[in-house]
């Protein structure tokens, strides 16, 4: 019993540490003072200012947020498509070719962000491709796709290898067999891969930084980096962080309720 209390207390303590900074930001997003820890009374002014886009800064934040979401969405959709096709292909491959492709697939995951960023920067320079939104998206697809492959693969190995043949045997065309039989089996893996890709893309700084070119493309990460270089947190970022944190929490809770409901029905 003592052990149980101790174990729970330890978990609670580490969780507190992990969440403390975000919590502080959340609390101080409801006051106006510029520096953290200085409470000058409750107000939602920062939220109003962020969403009205009144100041130049909040306009910049909103446009950076839009760009970030756009990049994440497009890159994850492409990565999910490319990665699922690749996983099916790899699953049916044999021998050295299969091992080689799986090895290549691991490289972007093992490479530190900065190496991925630098190497792609050199590629675009070498090919004389002007850098901007498209190159950033391509770069994000590069480091997202391996995660899709990795999440779809186990679903393929768990699957009965004969179901594709069974569908063909029952008169489905290869296209129908893919859409009506294979894809539904792989869907959970594709979904996990998509979510991971989306999150990795939102989280990325280094790769974006090296592949965005000099056209003034800003994502949240690069905006915050620039902010930090200037030596302070733009006040409107505080409400934004709070909202992002809440959205993630809500998504997690919904996912958990859904999965626990599923377990009950089994």
């Amino acid at each position: 019993m003592m052990k149980k209390i101790f174990a729970r207390a330890y978990l609670a303590f580490v969780l507190f540490l992990l969440y403390a900074p975000i919590m502080f930001i959340a609390v101080f997003s409801f006051t106006k003072a510029k520096s953290l820890g200085n409470w000058t009374g409750f107000t939602t002014d920062l939220y109003k200012s962020l969403f009205s886009g009144a100041s130049a800064e909040s306009q910049n934040i909103l446009s950076a947020l839009g760009t970030t979401l756009l990049i994440a969405l497009v890159a994850s959709v492409i990565a999910t498509f490319l990665g699922t096709l690749a996983a099916i292909g790899i699953y049916y491959m044999r021998g050295k070719k299969k091992a080689a492709l799986q090895f290549l697939n691991n490289i972007p995951m093992l490479n530190p962000d900065i190496i991925t960023g630098v190497s792609l920067f050199l590629l675009f320079v070498f090919l004389h491709i002007s850098q901007g939104l498209v190159t950033v998206i391509l770069a994000h697809v590069t480091f997202c796709t391996p995660y899709v492959v990795l999440n779809v693969m186990p679903k393929l190995t768990q699957m009965n290898p004969n179901i594709y043949e069974a569908a063909l045997d029952l008169g489905a065309t290869p296209r129908q067999a893919l859409s009506k039989v294979l894809v539904p089996q792989l869907l959970p893996g594709m979904f996990s891969g998509f979510v991971l890709s989306f999150v990795m893309s939102l989280d990325d700084f280094a790769v974006t930084f090296f592949t965005r070119g000099s056209g003034g493309l800003e994502t949240l990460s690069t905006f915050i980096y620039a902010d930090a270089r200037k030596g302070g947190l733009t006040p409107e970022l505080k409400p934004l962080m709070t909202i992002i944190f809440l959205v993630i929490l809500i998504v997690l809770i919904i996912m958990n309720i859904r999965s626990s409901n599923k377990n009950k029905h089994l």
Partner: protein, 256 residues
């Protein structure tokens, strides 16, 4: 059409966006910028005290960060995976959730707290912030391995006369090492190569290796930057080789 050919588009993509760029890193590393071949870019790594110094500091910080993450993260993963203490997957998700929040945002928040508390930014705050950033990456793979581990191993050990403590030391711990190893990989290398995070957490006082590479590229010294990246690639290659040797099966990584 053969189904194995469905991997062709991705194969081409990998050649173009993974293999070719890495080849280019090597090419730039060995060229002098005027069409000639040189190794001087590489030798500056050893001769420039600023570069080698920052490299050593990076290794030290990464080592400390990895060790602290193991010390804090292992017990967390262990408790989460033990049905006696935790029955819900939600608790495990809570520890992974911070990964979904932009790393720079979290780092900024941490730095702001240090500022508020009046703690001067430096090595201490750097390590603290790094642990805070990378802890979930350590917890997750260890949790995965422990959660999947057959509980009868521990029972067998106890059946053969091992106390719970001994059973942990002789069976659970060695069997969970692949998870610790893959957690260490996910913490160590990114720490060495990080640049924005260290700049924010030390107010530019400590330059990690990633910052040095970034600085070279900022100053248009692409060949030197590529050479430093090349050094990192070699190190990663070696750790992969060594790591692959000892690890027999996939220790989980980031599969949801």
């Amino acid at each position: 059409m053969k189904r194995s050919s469905w991997a062709i588009p991705y194969s081409i993509f990998l050649m173009l966006f993974v293999v070719l760029p890495l080849v280019l890193v090597a090419v730039y590393a060995f060229s002098d910028g005027h069409g000639g071949v040189t190794i001087s870019n590489l030798t500056t790594f050893f001769t420039d005290p600023k570069i080698i110094g920052s490299f050593l500091v990076s290794l030290e910080v990464a080592l400390e960060n990895t060790l602290i993450c193991i010390l804090i993260g292992y017990p967390v993963a262990y408790i989460l995976a033990d049905k006696k203490y935790n029955k819900s997957a939600t608790t495990a998700m809570l520890f992974i959730a911070p990964m979904a929040i932009n790393a720079l945002m979290r780092t900024m928040a941490t730095a702001e707290i240090f500022n508020m508390a009046g703690i001067p930014l430096g090595k201490g705050t750097l390590i603290f912030g790094m642990v805070y950033d990378y802890l979930p990456f350590m917890i997750f793979p260890i949790y995965n391995v422990l959660d999947k581990m057959d509980k009868s191993y521990v029972e067998a050990a106890q059946d053969l006369g091992a106390s719970p403590m001994t059973a942990f030391r002789k069976v659970t711990l060695p069997l969970s090492l692949p998870g610790v190893l893959s957690g260490a990989m996910m913490v160590f290398m990114p720490t060495v190569s990080t640049f924005a995070v260290s700049e924010i957490l030390t107010n530019n006082r400590i330059m990690l290796f990633g910052s040095v590479i970034n600085e070279q590229f900022n100053n248009l010294m692409w060949n030197q930057g590529a050479a430093l990246s090349f050094v990192m690639l070699i190190i990663i290659g070696i750790t992969m080789f060594v790591g692959n040797d000892s690890k027999e099966e996939d220790a989980g990584g980031l599969v949801l």
